[in-house]
Amino acid sequence: MSKSSLKQTLKDLDTKKISIRELNQDYLKRIKENENLNVFIHFSEENVLKQIDNLEKDNSAKKLKGIPIAIKDLFCTKSMPTTAASKILENFNPTYESFVTQKLLDEGSIFVGKTNLDEFAMGSATNTSFFGNTINPLSKENEPLAPGGSSGGSAAAVAADLCLGATGTDTGGSIRQPASFCGVVGIKPTYGLCSRWGIAAFASSLDQAGIFSHNVEDASILLQSIAGFDQRDSTSAKVDIPNYFENLDDDLNGKTVGIPREYSIDATPMEISQIWEDAIKVLEKKGVKIKNISLPHTKYALPTYYIIAPAEASSNLARYDGVKYGYRSDEIDSLDEMYENTRAQGFGREVKRRILIGTYVLSAGYYDAYYLKAQKVRKLIADDFNKAFKECDFIVTPTAPSAAFPLNEKQNDPIKMYLNDVFTVPASLAGLPGISIPFGKDKNNLPLGIQILGKHFDEQQVFNAAVSLERSYE
């Protein structure tokens, strides 16, 4: 299966080597062939054909005209239902379009469907979805692998070549980890670069939209399309969005890379330490100065994250109460019962677990010990990075502590599951941009990912380092 890139496809469309219809028919065919992967929560061929019809009538030039894109089902879309992979939003049809998807529509892209995810983006294997597991397209027969999560559907959609790019959201690693598991590129930009307006919230201070693609160049094109200030999101940043693609520069000579010693953890398999070393060697060859740095509070990042994110989630998910929209239990004798039964039946186990954790850490008598302390540690973690970035231009680490694991492996062990985020969570807490690119394979020939972190709003440096590593690997 030779995957054509977004960059190449745009050229082919431009030179009329291929039509929008032909292009998308090709993707539709593959989507239908791969239904067993359970990549999409919502897919409608009719809807895709309608979009093609409309674009064929549209003579204006658009940057992504006709490009098939998959949308994580956490983004509210007018033309397709939005479920957040939860029963509680099973039949929810938004009357509004999220900021990010609207930008993609404005650029003329075609939405092929809404991709599966962990319920409300809570998970690391896309196995908490009300709509069932997504299967990693790289799975061998009879041994289904997890695609990672929470944006596993989007990562799998790109990996199986069901689209030329996909949107994701990343709260603690939900783009970077599945990108690593599925062998694709995934970028989580700086917190505030893309508006959160219209994305069902998980943890507001961490949620950030981003992109999956086949390669770094494509990611740089797509990220530029979804970034930008939005006055409807108070945490949206007023920054100029550079043309990342035009500015791509794989010459890293004279730059400094930071290698955080705290990311060498005992549990990391040899293979992962190996690709990390390989990446460092490649960079060294390119004239990059290697700087060993320390991010001393790294070990507190996971517990900090698993206090702050559930705390915010417990409040963000209070709106799903059966009163206004979404699922409402039939068994109602009182208002309290309506809440209890609606939420007991509407939410899955992992969501309930996090709501309970979040409610607990915010409770009177526990707030100071948990939530407040976590906020303080979060500040220390951010300070670690600020200090480190005085000495380096970007940081390189592994993306995840393992390759894709078998589908049901960590299903019943939340702590093990949470450990998947160990390398991605610190940058999320600090609001920093991070990308995962495929870099090497494990002994089972499964892809492994390298993570590149940059300074706030320095996505360009992240892309430059990524494209440089990618080109050297190819």
Partner: protein
Amino acid sequence: MNNLIKGEKHDWEMVIGLEIHAQVKSNSKLFSSSSTKFGSSPNSQVSLVDAAMPGMLPVINKYCVEQAVKTGVGLNAKINNYSVFDRKNYFYADLPQGYQISQYKYPIVGEGKVTIDFKDGTSKDIRIVRLHLEQDAGKSLHDQNPSKTYVDLNRSGVALMEIVSEPDIRTPDEAGMYISKIRSILMYLDTCDGNMQEGSLRADVNISVRKPGDEYGTRCEIKNLNSIKFIKQAINYEAKRQIEILESGGSIEQNTMLFNTSTGKTRPMRNKEEAHDYRYFPDPDLLPLEISKEEIVKIKSSIPELPDELKNKFIETYKLSNYDASVLTAEKQTSDYFNETINSDSELKNHSKIVVNWITSELFSLLNKNNQDLNNSPVSPENLGQLIKLISTNEISGKIAKDVLDDMFSSGKTARQIVDEKGLQQVTDQGEIAKVIDEVIAENPKMVKQYLAGKDKLLGFFVGQAMKLTKGKANPKMLNDILKQKLNKKN
């Protein structure tokens, strides 16, 4: 002043603090652009944000922030350059987000004070703890269907200012005066329409009782009172209830109470154990609110004259008593009316007390009787000024002036017109008055005898008779003087 209530065993003192919820006067809501108009059809003013649709985010309405700052200045309070919006989490059907966005640790306005004025000329400061901004909830309608509750979200997200006082209030009257004063300040500032009937201004009352000099007792909170009358009733009832419990050896449970307006009684809504844990935490969808010194200065400079300043100005310029001046300045429309009346003629400055009386007693009672408001008074300030001028120049008597005002009120004519048409000018001709008095004396020889025998009270009788003959037009002072003169001559 004795503020104590008599109990069976000894005296008790009330300790009262108020939390006032004032709806910010603003066309749109605190975090959305929906209209705040009162009385629109249910759910016609609800945005995606107000209905808490997935992925919707609050954006602060700058105008509401300015209104809060303005109010803070009016309450002589500290404006905080840095404040934070928090989420107050609880479930209720008319709370679409499942939390109310409020301010907890860092309110926009800090400590301040307001002054209340008593009839005896004394006054008292009530300290303000804080003012913070928060969202209102929607409304649950339980009376539309026997088995269902409907929800109207028009009010959901409307901006409220919660103004919290120290427990400095000691009587129901003080509580009434305090809320009136706050209402007055907000209305001068135009930051709240002050309409208590529509719920734009409502209060939670915290009350405890103690033996004078003791520590504060355990308090109860009476929720959501929307008239001064109910506030006073509720306080009186609740204080009595607490005293009865304490005097019979019981102790007060820290309860949240509801006041039943038809029975005049309070009843517990929930106790301390059942109290919500609101799990406040900073709203991650909103950045901390930062207001620069420059912005505060700019807002301060836009603030109109407030009741206390105006009161002092009236006292100084027109030599009014503290109480009169505070009555005049309690409502902006009254002080405006007074200003326009007294400035309608340069002479009136010297008769300020008469002007005050004619506005606050005569005109007010007419307005009250006719269920009208000063804003749409049929008698304009100029016309009232003219009437008062006629009194002060002795053209008509005060008694006749009352009839003239009645006439002005119903016909809309000017005082001059009425006096001229009906020939109501006061008789100030000495000869004419003397003639009438002679007549009265001649017709009542017995009475004259009795009067001369020492029954001084009969003077009033003679005045009345003379007035009757002149149809009330005789100048009372002249009438009195001449009458005494003539009677004494008989001696």
